[in-house]
Structure formats: C-alpha cells, structure tokens
C-alpha cells in the first residue's frame, strides 16, 4: 500500500518536474487554464458579495429592467442595450472559435482577419459599456447612492461591469498583438497554439458575461 502511494506520488512529481509538458498540452495552454481558474474565483467573489448585499439590504433594489431600458422608436424597450451587448460578445466568441480553427490549418489570412473582427467586436462592446456607464452617471447613479433605491446598486454595478470591461479591454489588446503576430508569420515555426490560448481567454470573458447577465441584469 505504502509502496503504491509512493509510486503515484513519484509519478506526480516526475510529471511536473520532468522535461515535458504537464497534462500533455501546450504549457501555455495549461498556464492559461490555471490563470482562468484564479480569475473564476475573483469574479465569483464579486458576484457573491453582490448577492450578499442585495439579500441583506432592506432598501428596495432598483429594477434592472427599468434602469437599463432604452427608448427606441418612441417606446421604452427593457434591457435592450444589454441584449445587444450580449449578442456582440457571442458573435465575437464565434469568430474567435473560427480563428483558432483556421490557425491550426495555417491559413494566416483568414486567421488574422477573424482575429481583427473579434477585436473590433470587443472594442464595440467596450464602447457600448462606456455609453451605458455615462448614461447611468448622468441619471445620478454613483457607487455610494442612486435616486431609485438601495445605495449598494451602484457600487456592485460599477465594480462588476468595470472589472469585466477591463478584461474585455485587455483582451482586445491581446487579440491585436496575436493578430499582428499571425500577419507577420511569427508563429510559423512555434505553431499556432497561441491563437487557441488567446481564444481561451476571450471565451472566458464571454463566459463571465453570461453569469453577469443572469445575476445582475435578470435578477
């Protein structure tokens, strides 16, 4: 029994310290997954603290459906901007998935084009978020209070969407860097794993938005 334990512990150490890649995937991919795992804990901490203040406050919580409504074509449509932002981000995830695929096929032109489209959609998302922020600020929403109800609404909103928007902005820069690399043929020898690694980050940003959309905007 003790022997088999030692053997398995030995294998584990050898797997991590040996001159080979752990999990038998590109080392950068394993590291990106571990980074995303830590990021999951950060975002969950934010969302959990939001849940906690929202459940514990006796002040009425502002109605997201009304707060994020926009007047279009003469009538008020609930959450419409957020819905459009969601579709923009999903579309960018789709183009990213295609870019990864064309990268491994070594179709540099298509990979670069799809990466640039993904980055542009990401920038569009950030632009729409900036619009949403300035609209809310103009209506008197602050991290310490707002005209509708519970003061915690503002702090949760700016903290969570701000941190997510920061991730999207970082992702756009990352995508632009990888796209230039693809155009210049920087990955012809190294292989196109970097496009997939970059894609993991981008899909994660979309993934976080799925949870923010459900818990912040739909609750």
């Amino acid at each position: 029994m003790a022997n088999s334990n030692e053997a398995s512990a030995g294998t584990l150490v050898e797997d991590w310290s040996g001159d080979k890649e752990t999990f038998r995937v590109h080392w950068g991919k394993a590291m990106m997954w571990i980074f995303l795992l830590s990021d999951t804990f950060i975002f969950t901490s934010f969302l959990t603290s939001y849940m906690h203040v929202r459940m514990s406050t006796a002040e009425p919580w502002p109605n997201a459906s009304e707060v994020f409504a926009l007047t279009m074509f003469g009538q008020s449509i609930p959450l419409i901007l957020i819905a459009i932002m969601t579709f923009v981000l999903i579309t960018s995830s789709g183009t990213m998935a295609l870019a990864v695929n064309y990268g491994y096929r070594r179709d540099r032109k298509k990979t670069a084009t799809l990466l640039v489209i993904t980055a542009l959609l990401g920038a569009t998302f950030v632009g729409m978020q900036a619009f949403e922020w300035s609209k809310l600020i103009a209506e008197g929403v602050r991290p310490w209070g707002n005209p509708m109800g519970a003061a915690q609404f503002g702090s949760c909103f700016f903290m969570i969407t701000g941190f997510h928007g920061g991730h999207v902005t970082g992702g756009v820069i990352y995508l632009a860097y990888v796209a230039t690399g693809v155009i210049n043929g920087r990955y012809e020898e190294k292989g196109y794993d970097i496009v997939e690694i970059c894609g993991l980050y981008w899909h994660f940003v979309d993934l976080v938005w799925v949870f923010i959309f459900a818990f912040f905007y739909l609750w």
């Binding site: 849940m51 514990s56 789709g94 209506e139 109800g149 292989g191 459900a214």
Partner: protein, 118 residues
C-alpha cells in the same frame, strides 16, 4: 511538422451550430425579462439558460470536451468549492435582512422608485 498532428482540429460545422445555439439561448433568456416571468419560474429559466450557455462555451468553444480527464478535473472541480461560499453568504444575508426588519424597523415591502431617463 504535419498539419494533421497539430492542436485541436474539429469540423467548422460544430462551431456554427454552437454559435447559433448560443444566440437562441440568449434570446430565450432575454424573453424571460421581456415577458416578465416571476418567482420560481423566472429563476428556473434564468439558471437553466445560463448553465446551458456556460456549458456549451466551455465544452465546445474552449475545447474542454476533447481534453484529458486530468485537465478537466484540475480546472472544473475547484470552482465547485465556491458553492460553499455562496451558501454561507446566502444564509448570512438572509439573517442580516431579518435582523434589519425585526429589530431596526426596516420596511421589507418597500418599492424602488422608477428611474428618470434623459
């Protein structure tokens, strides 16, 4: 280096299928708010659409479905611990709310004011 041996290679069709599916699921979750479903119905629908979307993104777009079990468990099991944190904070939040209503005279049925859009 032969191209066939490199990285994750899947037919493009699967990405298009998931892409469309994510669109449809997003429309569904938007409809939950648009048609103002309330109570348990609202929460069931929100959570089901959310988990489906998250699952498809991780499994297909992030290729988790084709990874080795060692990587899958190393990445997907630790976040389950967070459910403990969520449960603890939910109990604590509930208690604080109750204390504010019972001992500090807060009104549990107060209604938020409507925002004034410019």
């Amino acid at each position: 280096m032969s191209d066939a041996a490199e990285g994750q290679q899947h037919p493009l069709g699967i990405y298009y299928a998931i892409w469309i599916l994510l669109f449809v699921l997003s429309i569904f979750s938007y409809m939950v708010d648009y048609y103002q479903f309330q109570g348990y119905m609202r929460w069931t629908l929100i959570l089901v659409f959310m988990m489906l979307k998250a699952g498809f993104i991780v499994a297909i777009f992030m290729h988790m479905a084709w990874e080795r079990m060692a990587l899958i468990t190393a990445i997907l099991l630790p976040p389950l611990l967070l459910l403990v944190l969520v449960a603890l904070m939910a109990i604590e939040g509930d208690y604080t709310f109750l204390a504010r209503v019972l001992f500090f005279g807060a009104d549990p049925n107060a209604v938020p004011l409507s925002p004034v859009h410019h």
